[in-house]
């Protein structure tokens, strides 16, 4: 953790790009699930909107709110990655991110539906750009907040916090 080169590992171009120009930003008008996520430590706040169809596929995603480059980019990437995925696949992607960032699965992950991990391989590679947070324990929650919020939305909870 010394020098600008390590900062570039954390702030890769993809992060800067998604942080500056987040995809799927704004309210999703036909959302049938949404939740607010808060990180009380830093004041980051976002709302994740989902539309989940009758087959359990996430066919619409968006988010709005404000946060740092890491949380904004993570939310932006998330909305791209989970679109078209089943609920179980989306949660499996969260598990992968969480394990990458913290070395362990998310809490309450027991009993998760099994998914075909091979199907996820291609899309999961996108998560790699967020791997830099591993070295910054104070910033892990920035990367995971949008995903926690998505999970809360799927569970029908109105809000979640990182605390």
């Amino acid at each position: 953790m010394t020098g600008a080169s390590d900062m570039r590992d954390l702030y890769q171009e993809v992060i800067i790009d998604h942080g500056r120009n987040p995809r799927n930003f704004g309210k999703l008008e036909n959302a049938n699930r949404s939740a607010e996520g808060d990180n009380p430590m830093c004041g980051d706040r976002l709302t994740v909107y989902l539309h989940i169809d009758d087959d359990g596929v996430v066919d619409g995603t968006s988010f709005e709110g404000h946060g740092c480059a890491i949380s904004t980019a993570s939310a932006s990437l998330m909305t791209e990655m989970v679109k078209g995925r089943t609920r179980a696949e989306a949660l499996a992607l969260f598990r992968r991110l969480h394990e990458m960032a913290t070395g362990r699965p998310p809490e309450d992950d027991a009993g998760a539906e099994p998914v075909d991990e091979k199907v996820l391989e291609e899309v999961a590679g996108k998560l790699e750009v967020l791997s830099g947070v591993r070295e910054y324990p104070m910033r892990v929650k920035c990367a995971t907040l949008p995903w926690h919020t998505m999970k809360a939305a799927m569970a029908g909870e109105d809000s979640t916090t990182t605390e």
Binding site: T2, Y11, I16, R20, C42, G43, G67, A69, I70, C142
Partner: protein, 414 residues
């Protein structure tokens, strides 16, 4: 305490810095540049030497033992109370209540003053600039007692708006609770005018002095307020200790905040007679070591002297403001005068947390976020800021390190 006077008489920054061992640490291979003093200040060795001395030579529970060590510890603890009295120029040492920190002090007043003096419909007036600890206890009192909570707005440059305050204060106002110096912006508030407004309607005034006491002398009698609170850890003292000063005639009419040992005169199963102030507000074994450490911190600050502290911190502040004015894309907030040594800023295209991480990588410790003052942030339309806050041991070279590190932020986010 020879070391204190040696550091102070020379008023030599290098020698002051040598009193703070942690300042020699490196962070990520860089010299530590500690600019998060408004959150909590570092401690001089005079403070932890005083604490260690008690543990090694004079520790026992206080106010209850007939044995030697208890008397020694009690004496030291009460000497600290006397130092706090002098520090605030309070009329009477019995008006100094030791608490865990300013947060507990305000909760104590909300709880005990609220029970003693407030009826449904009575009003508490705060401002939008307050720290959460001077907002939430009043909201809790409102919900419990049916009082009304009002907040005066602020001027664009970070001062409580006196016109707004004048409109908020009225015949139903019982208490005005305001910050002396904004923790998020550094602006020193027009407390004299606000005290005068409150007195006109017979209201009491509580001043949150957390940010003020490390930077300027405070005289509660000159201020004319009724309660003054601060935390020890921002004054180069230990955590877990803070101060509530209250006018004796008010404190004496307030019921205890917590019940237990230490605060009783006589207990039977049916009823209890409470001790007089301040002990009736100090249930249980207090933070003995930390209280004594706070006394050492006050000695230290007094030895360095507020004349020098004010001069030095103003120099750092002016130097930093001049340097940061030269940074494109950087905006400083709440620039009103008078002000203490806190600078709150935002940068175009870079979020405060990302700024904080990049600065940390350069060894520069700042605070990023809402600074426990979300209503202030909302009022100014800010989501978060980066805050650099200077203490008596900071240097111009550390300001340069801050400015260089901000350059690294621009490289990544520019």
């Amino acid at each position: 305490m020879n070391d204190v006077s040696a550091a102070a008489t020379g008023r030599d920054l290098a020698r002051i810095r040598a009193d703070f061992p942690i300042l020699s640490e490196t962070v990520h291979g860089k010299p530590l540049v500690f600019l998060d003093n408004a959150a909590s200040a570092q401690k001089p060795r005079q403070v932890f030497d005083a604490e260690r001395d008690v543990y090694e030579h004079g520790y026992a529970n206080i106010h209850r033992g007939v044995h030697y060590l208890s008397q020694v510890a009690t004496q030291k603890f009460e000497e600290s109370r006397a130092k706090v009295r002098a520090f605030l120029n309070a009329p009477d040492v019995d008006e100094i209540v030791f608490v865990r920190g300013a947060t507990e002090a305000i909760n104590l007043v909300a709880h005990s003053y609220g029970r003693a003096f407030m009826e449904p419909g009575d009003e508490v007036v705060i401002s939008v600039l307050e720290h959460h600890s001077n907002i939430v206890p009043w909201q809790m009192l409102r919900d419990e007692r049916g009082i009304v909570l009002k907040a005066a707005t602020a001027t664009p440059d970070g001062m409580i708006d006196l016109d707004s305050m004048k409109r908020m204060i009225g015949p139903k106002t019982k208490l005005v609770a305001i910050t002396h110096m904004s923790n998020a912006l550094g602006t020193i508030q027009p407390v004299d005018e606000i005290v005068a407004m409150a007195k006109q309607v017979g209201a009491h005034v509580l001043i949150d002095g957390c940010q003020a006491v490390p930077h300027m002398p405070v005289d509660v009698q000159a201020l004319g307020c009724d309660f003054y609170v601060f935390s020890g850890h921002k004054l180069y003292g230990p955590t877990g200790i803070g101060v509530l000063w209250g006018r004796g005639e008010l404190l004496s009419q307030m019921p205890p905040y917590q019940g237990g040992g230490e605060m009783i005169a006589r207990v039977s199963i049916e009823k209890t007679r409470y001790k007089n102030i301040p002990h009736r507000f100090e249930a249980g074994t207090p933070a003995i070591i930390q209280g004594i450490g706070l006394g050492a911190a006050i000695d230290y600050v007094n030895a360095v002297g507020f004349d020098w502290i004010a001069w030095h911190e103003r120099d750092l502040l002016d130097y930093a403001m001049e340097k940061l004015r030269g940074v494109n894309s950087l905006t400083m907030h709440g620039q009103g005068e008078p002000r203490g040594s806190i600078l709150s800023f935002t940068m175009e295209g870079a979020h405060p947390h990302d700024i904080g991480t990049i600065l940390d990588d350069k060894g520069v410790a700042v605070r990023a976020g809402h600074h426990c003052a979300e209503p202030l942030m909302d009022f100014y339309g800010l989501k978060a800021t980066t805050r650099a806050s200077f203490g008596l041991y900071n240097t111009r070279e550390e300001v340069d390190a801050l400015v260089d590190a901000i350059g690294a932020v621009q490289e990544i986010f520019g």
